[in-house]
Assembly symmetry: none
Homo-oligomer: 368 residues x 2
């Protein structure tokens, strides 16, 4: 015991995926050593039968063995155990994020409070493209809930207020986030073309979580690693990750996925620090959604200037940093500049104004 308490952060298995039960693995790690925990525990869905769409095709339900619990009591026991193990390894100023649906989130939230965590916000992930309710018997289940909590009510948790403000058109980030579900090319498939994991989360969600509540170099642990979205985004953002996953199949997929990831440039990882009022730009949303990769090069419409995209939706050109409008104005020596029409990005062989991406995002968000 005395030996274990002497372990330091340098002994952490950084940037690796541990095999086995998350409680056992966390108990082997040194206490007070991890900056952030992101957890996507099983939801304990209780499905009674098959569900068909109006066209008679069958809905591929989450009926995996790892989501089965015998009772609420059994699920609560499970929650209390992993939450306690997670809290022990968190630094005093560390924090945790847990995601869930109405099936489990109330139980997890209560267990979290009972364990001594201090809730900072509950954050709603509003899905822009959820699965509809096929039988017309309830409301479309169009969101999931995340709880963000500090280790204790005295923890000095990390919150990059200005960075999130920059991501949100220059106004404070709210507790409801509109993001699409994970699909298309981002969705990992096996050799047969089937989804590699039934509940893969979108990278845009983890991007916002990590930009909000970690600093470069921080250690982020995910006890239910799955196919490694947390690790992929952490690596890209220059954070260390530790994954724990029971299923070998998922570990293998995650390993290959993360291996292919490249970290963003050091410049791009610097987020806005200043308290100056940010102009109202939605540019950060393009970055979050992956419409423009962090580190991408933008070119001015007149072809005379170039700039690089940073993680919080600001630009850098030489030693000039700021919003798309600010950087454009400085480079042109002009009092002001509309960055949306000034900057272009490379699309196929052409340079296209970034405003087309904004229109794309608006089209996705407007039905809300």
């Amino acid at each position: 015991m005395a030996i274990q308490q002497k372990k330091t952060e340098t002994e952490l298995p950084l940037d690796t995926i541990l095999a086995g039960d998350c409680v056992a693995r966390m108990q082997e790690l040194p206490e007070n050593s991890v900056d952030l925990i992101f957890a996507d525990p099983p939801y304990n869905l209780q499905l009674k039968g098959e569900l068909h769409r109006p066209d008679n095709s069958k809905v591929d339900a989450v009926d995996d063995h790892w989501d089965q619990f015998n009772s609420f009591a059994a699920y609560d026991r499970f929650s209390r155990e992993w939450l306690a193990a997670a809290r022990r390894i968190l630094k005093p100023d560390g924090a945790i994020w847990v995601i869930g649906s109405y099936h489990n989130i109330f139980r997890v939230g209560a267990a979290l409070q009972d364990a001594g965590y201090w809730i900072l916000n509950d954050v709603v992930w509003r899905k822009s493209n959820p699965m509809p309710n096929f039988r017309g018997k309830r409301l479309t289940n169009a969101h999931e809930t995340m709880i963000w909590a500090a280790k204790s009510d005295s923890g000095k948790y990390t919150f990059n207020y200005e960075a999130l403000k920059a991501l949100n058109e220059g106004v404070q980030m709210r507790s409801d986030w509109v993001l699409p579900i994970c699909s298309g090319g981002e969705r990992l498939k096996d050799a047969a073309g089937n989804k590699a994991h039934p509940t893969q989360k979108p990278e845009s969600l983890l991007h916002r979580v990590l930009v909000a509540s970690t600093k470069p170099g921080d250690v982020v642990l995910d006890p239910f690693f799955g196919t490694g979205t947390t690790g992929a985004v952490a690596k890209r953002l220059g954070r260390h990750f530790i994954g724990i996953e029971r299923e070998e199949e998922y570990r293998a997929v995650a390993e290959a996925r993360i291996e292919a990831i490249r970290r963003y440039d050091r410049d791009a990882l610097q987020v806005t620090q200043s308290k100056r009022a940010e102009p109202r730009v939605a540019f950060g949303t393009l970055v979050e959604r992956g419409l423009l990769p962090v580190g991408a090069e933008l070119r001015s419409l007149n072809g005379r200037h170039r700039a690089k995209v940073r993680a919080d939706g600001t630009l850098i050109a030489h030693d000039t940093k700021g919003s798309i409008h600010q950087v454009g104005a400085v480079l042109e020596g002009a009092p002001s500049c509309n960055g949306w029409t000034y900057w272009t990005f490379r699309k196929g062989g052409d340079w296209v104004p970034i405003d087309v991406l904004r229109q794309q995002v608006r089209a996705e968000m407007s039905p809300a």
Copy 2:
């Protein structure tokens, strides 16, 4: 006791506000008598006094956590008591809505599941004009959470699917609702111009709740009535209400408020009905009435299959015999099939769905 159990719904104190503790008042009401409960339970008073103690550096962490657990336990006891009393008076097919924030909603949700309620949806009220976070230490708390639950997993709860779809421009209603907070003329003020109640809910929220989950004439009970938003909207929508409120000041405000409310016209209270509500018509009836001759040929909507009508209202196609639904399912290799929309008959030069004949029969059945 025996007398109390014999009470019928006619003995309910309809459209009145009861004074006193909600648990005691609910225990006096007959069981299985109320259609819907809407509850906005307190949380600030319950938690703040006990959790936010003056900053005392002498208190060590263990005591602190023990303290927290104690106050959470007290709140849980309170929740379990009123949820149990509420569940007793609910009709078997009744339902409940509870609204709260991250301070209390996880505890209430877990208690609700433990009490045997069956969660149908969690609904996010996304505030279009929330109060900003002044200190910039967290995300703007821009939503509250409602839980919608049936009395049990076998309860046949009311859900006016088509009405909510109509409210949402023709697409099914989602679990996130964007509505402004209560302000302006709707916000009740006292003589001095101060708000009469700190957490008055907007009528638009209750409007959607009641349109979604009640029918005209239903009984809606609110155990934390406050200034009576639930009663005001219920009266306007032609539902009965029962309010319970401890504070005389709030009761007086609510009384005056509801007195001034006028019910909408009966016509206006009618909402779009689901097809399920229409009377059932047997296919054989069409044959009996001569709307389709025995031996008539039917064709599938996609044109790929044909069948012949038999005297008993069944179909035959090759060697497949059975109902319009069964034969359609077999021919399509589908788990099920709606024969009414699958089969067409020859009318003049066109092939028309047999459903038009069913509508014809329905029109003859109901003189309305």
